[in-house]
Amino acid sequence: MIMKVLLAMVVPVAGILIGLLYKGIDRILAARMQGRVGPPLVQPLRDVRKLLVKENIVPDDAVGWLFSSMPFVALVSVMAILLYLPLGITPVLEGYGDLILVLYLLIIPSLALVLGGFASSSPYASVGGQREMVKMMSYEFPLAIAVISVAWLLYSSGAENVFSLSVISGTHVWGLAGIPGLAGLAVIFLCMLFVIPGELGRIPFDVSEADSEIAGGIFAEYSGRNLALFYLADAVKAVAIASLAVALFLPYTVSGIFGLGGAAAPAADFLFHLLKVFFVLFVSSTVVRVVTGRLAISRVVSVYWKYPVILSFLGLLLIMGGTLI
């Protein structure tokens, strides 16, 4: 009980630091892939410290209370998601929230971005907010199908409480439905990796914060500590969504293999979880961001409604076929 309360206090703060670490690693690796040297690893922390000493300008015509409170809401909600996800160890708030709650909570940071954009009195921010909202509507469908497919697979193989994240990360889903199920799960994992850059707002789906098109998009009027809070929210959201993908599809633990026990087992599992999150973020966010360019908003909608939806339905059919055989 005391351990749970302590963990509930430590995990969100650790989430911020881990998120900044991943942002730094992402920038270094992207720079090396482009033939540059890249900033030092602590550069995102320096960015945040610099943003905290700048003035905080609120435009005259902006809706003041909405403008200043949206960064706060974004960061608080995304840190609250971390408490429900299994970070190698069992989730901190284990019986108190499940997968459906995490799916709903993941909408809140994006919605805070949209509202912050509309509350700035800038045409660039309105366009950015509208684009972010359309993109959000587009990627929620493949994300929901991917999550429901895994839950359905667990349900049809007899587990109870299929939406509880400790059950999901305790069962290894890859072998449950035979060869068609394996193919279906691989296809659905691909859909999930496809949704991750859209959710995080990385290239090719960073239409809402486009630098060259709409002058900063949603963040056009934000400066100083509000921008620092949005920056931190973006860093923590990467950890949250990648931890969700790892919990659904790659829930392996290391302490069983090495036979560790006592206090060393959760630590080793946590470090292995960080490694898995790095792998997911590298494949879906860093490599894709370096290789591709930005899509136009109409193409974002058509890309998200066509390919991941078809792929995820195909995966679901394959999984169903696998359980029937």
Binding site: R27, A31, Q34, G35, R36, V37, G38, P39, P40, Q43, R46, D47, R49, K50, V53, K54, E55, N56, I57, Y124, D211, S212, A215, G216, F219, A220, E221, Y222, S223, G224, L227
Partner: protein, 140 residues
């Protein structure tokens, strides 16, 4: 927090906003690119003056565009640094005799650093930025 401490935090991560008419940006592009990488010093180009710490006014400015540049300078959150790039900002440069361009940038905007050249090579731009870093460190 006094200004010296703020500037010390600022030089670790400088975000740059470029304001230019025509030929000023051509030698800033390689500084952003992979040969004279400026991200290793923490500098990235941004698109809105609200995010920017450093306003680089590259090349000549006409009477029309200097009014916009002044508004952009006022819209930047302070502490901020202004760099005048090229000889057109120092003395009018190639357009010293023109009826339309401004001859000295510091009459309109408080400039912290001039980088001479037409346009200055990326090494000169980096040397200028290094001198800002060194001056901030000396003052702290």
């Amino acid at each position: 927090m006094e200004d010296a401490k703020k500037l010390k935090r600022l030089v670790k991560s400088v975000w740059v906003f470029n304001w230019f008419n025509s030929c000023g940006f051509t030698e800033i592009l390689p500084v952003v690119g992979s040969r004279w990488d400026m991200e290793r010093f923490g500098m990235i180009p941004v698109a809105s003056p609200r995010h920017a710490d450093c306003l680089i006014i590259a090349g000549y400015q006409t009477e029309k565009s200097i009014r916009r540049a002044q508004r952009i300078y006022r819209q930047m959150p302070k502490p901020a640094v202004v760099i005048g790039l090229g000889s057109c900002s120092m003395s009018g440069g190639m357009y010293w005799d023109s009826y339309n361009t401004i001859k000295r940038l510091s009459d309109y905007i408080p400039v912290d650093l001039y980088i001479p050249g037409c346009p200055p090579r990326p090494e000169a731009i980096l040397k200028g930025i290094m001198s800002i870093f060194r001056e901030v460190e000396d003052h702290a």
